[in-house]
């Protein structure tokens, strides 16, 4: 089973990298970009019988730091 796990900063957590990317897009002349938030995607290949609880535990224990980040799992 293929998984995509999206890890993004929680709303309200300042994202200086996103802000710098936003600024650079403006420098390139792209108008109308209101906000940019940077994050991570993990593409994983796991055993078909991997249950949701185990996937959730992987996210909580390692892939995301839940103090500052949210995660979202998409099964392909």
């Amino acid at each position: 089973m293929k998984l995509q796990i999206f890890v993004t900063l929680k709303p309200g957590v300042l994202d200086p990298q996103g802000r710098a990317i936003h600024h650079a897009l403006g420098s390139l002349g792209f108008a109308g970009v209101d906000d940019v938030r940077a994050g991570k995607v993990f593409e994983m290949e796991v055993a078909d019988n991997t249950d949701d609880a185990a996937i959730d535990a992987m996210c909580r224990q390692l892939l995301a730091n839940t103090v500052i980040e949210n995660y979202r799992v998409v099964k392909a």
């Binding site: 957590v13 300042l14 200086p16 710098a20 730091n65 103090v67 500052i68």
Partner: protein
């Protein structure tokens, strides 16, 4: 006193910490590789060094915090063993759950490498007993991810409990409430971004960091 310095792939301040600890204890610390599962018997203090453990992959300190030796350190800290984390060591301690909050990319995105003024906010801990509360000291910082974050309720609680050990006396990295160093609830774990081990003799340009190690030895007992 027997001390131990953890060594991860990518640690680069482990030897500086070893020099500082040997200077004040008279005995070279045990250098403990991350793959070990136990601390040396009789260890009275563990120091987690600065550097770029595991190349800062995933998040600074994230992989090191899940290494075998850190399981032993978390367990020992729970029983009261003093643990000092400097720079990447602070990041490792937050990732391991020994300290609250997280250290994010510096607010200005720059790697900050210079001397900074620190205010000693709590001079009563095992780590800060040789400083006076309110005293200003100067020690260097050298980091990219020192921007301390915790939610407001957590920050209020930390302040109320006297757990902010050191605060920047100037804007450095965007840290919430200029927090530079933090104690755990029991007071036996300190994480700090500045490097006291780089200021232990006047030849370093100052020795303001030395008293942290001297105080620790005094507190833990020889």
């Amino acid at each position: 006193m027997k001390t131990a310095v953890l060594v991860f792939p990518g640690s680069n301040c482990d030897r500086d910490l070893a020099v500082a600890l040997e200077a004040v204890t008279g005995t070279a610390p045990a250098m403990v590789w991350h793959g070990e599962t136990e601390l040396p018997a009789g260890t009275g203090l563990v120091a987690v060094p600065g550097g770029f453990s595991y190349g800062d992959y995933l998040r600074s300190g994230a992989i090191a915090a899940r290494s075998p030796i850190m399981r032993a350190v978390v367990e020992a800290a729970g029983k009261g063993l003093p643990v000092l984390g400097v720079c990447n060591g602070f990041q490792v301690l937050t990732e391991a759950g020994l300290l609250p909050g997280a250290l994010m990319r510096n607010g200005g995105l720059n790697f900050v490498c210079r001397d900074v003024a620190l205010t000693v906010e709590n001079g009563d801990s095992a780590f800060t007993r040789r400083y006076a509360t309110g005293e200003t000291i100067r020690v260097p910082v050298a980091h990219h991810d020192g921007n301390y974050f915790a939610d407001d309720a957590t920050l209020d609680r930390l302040e109320g409990e006297g757990r902010v050990a050191f605060r920047y006396g100037e804007a450095v990295n965007g840290s919430a409430r200029n927090i530079a160093g933090l104690l755990n609830d029991r007071g036996n774990v300190l994480g700090m971004m500045p490097h006291p081990e780089r200021r232990i003799e006047t030849a370093h340009g100052g020795d303001d960091g030395r008293r942290l190690f001297e105080g620790l030895v005094e507190a833990v007992g020889a």
